[in-house]
């Protein structure tokens, strides 16, 4: 088995990797905050969130604050494990190339 197998295709994109990085250290983050941190447009962010949601790496929680919709995102156990594996793979590749 090659190390490349552990590289997660889903994380091979700057924004998806970014979303996951933020959710690893924050229990719950809302859409607006993600947008602020990643500096992306609504549509762009939404499509990447969808992709992560579909793979069950993140969960979506919809609620209302003062009757305004407030959608929060969080990483699932599966997502956390996948992200960790991906980081380890990145580190391994870099280590190999340094040799």
């Amino acid at each position: 088995m090659s190390i490349i197998d552990n590289i997660n295709k889903l994380f091979d994109h700057r924004i998806r990797l970014g979303i996951m990085s933020i959710l690893m250290v924050n229990e719950k983050v809302n859409f607006k905050r993600l947008k602020e941190l990643l500096e992306v447009t609504d549509g762009n962010l939404a499509s990447h969130i969808k992709a992560l949601e579909k793979s069950e790496y993140i969960v979506v929680e919809k609620s209302f604050i003062d009757r305004k919709p407030n959608t929060q995102y969080g990483a699932t156990k599966l997502g956390r494990a996948a992200f960790k594996k991906h980081i380890e793979a990145l580190e391994n590749i870099i280590k190999r190339q340094m040799k």
Binding site: R14, L17, G18, S21, I22, M24, V25, N26, V29, N30, R33, E36, L37, L38, I87, L90, E91, I93, I94, Q97
Partner: protein
């Protein structure tokens, strides 16, 4: 190829830091808070507290407590006010947002031990148990700092540990409360502020 993965890792780190850590308080606000505390402690020593403990002061005990509380509130208000002003000023020049989810979590984590401790100290004071108040203030303030330090950059954690240890020592040596209080809230803040200021200048 290699460069890309390096970039990935550094971006991950950057986002993790940016999303979870609040900009730290400036060194100057630490120095100011420490100075207010020293001045306040000086006022308490010179004008409020009885100079000779052997004389019976029970008659004006409640007045002394009243003045001490006013003194404390003034120190706290001035410290908070300067910290807010300096933080806003710095955030503006760095084009950072101040009131976001991270700040709210920082404040919440800071306030939980502090408010619980404050209420406990007041309950004890109401029952005329003042002797441990300085120690308890240091201990709960230290716990609040350690608790909040998870959301900040810098060495707030070590300031918290120092306050905590000082508070415990203070509890063991009753009668020297004011000195320990001045050391913890005055000197430690100034030392911490000076160290932070040096670091800020270096950057």
């Amino acid at each position: 190829m290699q460069k890309d993965y390096f970039k990935d890792l550094s971006e991950i780190k950057d986002l993790m830091n940016k999303s979870s850590r609040f900009i730290s308080l400036s060194g100057l606000s630490g120095i100011l808070a420490g100075s207010y505390a020293l001045i306040g402690a000086g006022i308490a020593y010179l004008y409020i507290l009885p100079s000779d403990v052997t004389i019976d002061h029970s008659a004006n005990d409640s007045m002394i407590i009243y003045y001490l509380i006013v003194d404390l509130i003034l120190i706290a208000a001035l410290s908070i006010f300067s910290a807010i002003i300096l933080t806003i000023k710095r955030a503006k020049s760095n084009e950072e947002k101040i009131w976001d989810a991270t700040t709210q979590r920082l404040l919440l984590n800071f306030l939980i031990p502090l408010v619980a401790g404050g209420i406990y100290i007041l309950i004890q004071a109401y029952q005329q148990n003042y002797s441990l108040s300085p120690a308890l203030m240091l201990i709960f303030y230290g716990l609040a700092l350690v608790n909040a330090s998870k959301f900040t950059i810098g060495n707030v954690k070590y300031l918290g540990y120092s306050e905590l240890i000082l508070g415990l020592i203070c509890a063991a040596f009753s009668g020297y409360g004011l000195y320990f209080w001045a050391l913890g809230f005055g000197v430690l803040h100034i030392v911490y502020g000076a160290l932070m200021l040096r670091e800020e200048k270096r950057q």
